[in-house]
Assembly symmetry: C2
Homo-oligomer: 227 residues x 2
């Protein structure tokens, strides 16, 4: 069987940037599973695989289609139990939901505010129109209004990463001595920021930056090659 | 062997309030281990058990002395492997460090700002002097200055609990279907707030409040009996 990952891209197919898709790329590499990635533009998602999912990532594994980055990780853990675990047991599977909630409610809103205009500018014209309309409706502000307070968002980022920075005093990864899916979750958010804006906007000596670099080094630095 | 837990109290021995000690109480109940709790005043800690630890909780289990709430949980998990797990595997043990870091850096500073004067007022006179001096030095403000902005701290609490609230859409406990030590960690912070101020300062319909009530109900509602 072969695995196909449907992810997200802008005008440049070689720079998939979605945080959720990066979680899945890292999960697949973690499991050591070969796959082909098929990056889609925002407006191409609804028609892929017969309209299976409104969002990416989604994945075809033989006859099976699975959407949502967490559900995909659960699927991979169950379907490939002999490959390295993504959760390290049932407790880790549950707590990864907490890490996901932290990333989603604390890191994502800040990355959105920093990267919104960059993301817009990366898209092909049709997708730009879709992106502007949907995001401006969601955020209640224009892309340009959000870009105007970009520096405030950049300044808020280190504070949002305080829990991770504090934890890194005790261990090198959220998963302990090595990374687990919980690391891929927060990595996804910062990789999104890095690819869309060219920087993670953290000081060189920030332990979170050092952890992020460790994540970029995983699996033959594949994630570092996309910039 | 019998277990003795050294915890923290104010003038009233029946109202131990330390967040870290509550984590350990919940961990011991979780493991189903009988223990006797010996609450100490702040200034009595350094002379207990021959000056073993400057902080509580610490625990004597037969010949063994262990300090620090996380180290105690690790010790209990190893020493009592047949009792219900506190971590649900290695991944859960690692991720509990992230939950601890979250609670410590996000929830604790807010609880401190809400409860500081209440805690001071609960203490015996000698401890009040110690508490005032050490806390005012640490925080760079007088207890009264911090009490003056108490309402601002109360208003900041729901936002700090956003990751937990978001996660509760997916599962009833941070540990999944049932509580694990990760739940006891955040519970400890809110139990500290509840005992010292008489309230967790959350709306009745806040899912975090409902989760907290579920935790209070554990082990025959023992934690609810202290108020």
């Amino acid at each position: 069987m072969s695995i196909t990952l449907y992810s997200l891209c802008g005008a440049d197919l070689a720079r998939p940037f979605s945080p959720h898709c990066w979680k899945t790329v890292m999960a697949l590499r973690h499991k050591g599973l070969p796959f082909s990635e098929r990056p889609l533009a925002f407006t191409a998602i609804p028609s892929a695989e017969g309209g299976f999912s409104k969002t990416v990532p989604f994945l075809r594994d033989g006859e099976r289609l699975v959407s949502d980055s967490f559900q995909i990780a659960l699927y991979l853990e169950e379907a490939y139990p002999d490959a390295p675990s993504l959760f390290g047991g049932e407790g880790g599977q549950a707590m990864a939901r907490f890490v996901e909630a932290y990333s989603q409610t604390t890191v994502h809103p800040i990355v959105t505010r920093i990267a919104l205009k960059n993301i817009h500018d990366m898209l092909a014209p049709t997708d730009q129109a879709y992106f502007r309309e949907s995001r401006e409706k969601l955020l209640g502000k224009t892309i340009e209004e959000i870009a105007a307070v970009r520096e405030t968002a950049i300044a808020a980022l280190p504070e949002a990463l305080k829990p991770l920075r504090h934890m890194l005093k005790a261990q090198p990864f959220i998963g302990g001595d090595g990374p687990l899916f919980c690391d891929h979750i927060v990595f996804g958010a910062l990789q999104w920021l890095r690819i869309t804006t060219g920087s993670v906007h953290l000081a060189d000596d920030d332990p979170v930056r050092t952890w992020f670099e460790r994540c970029l080094d995983l699996h033959g630095s594949e994630a570092r090659a996309v910039a």
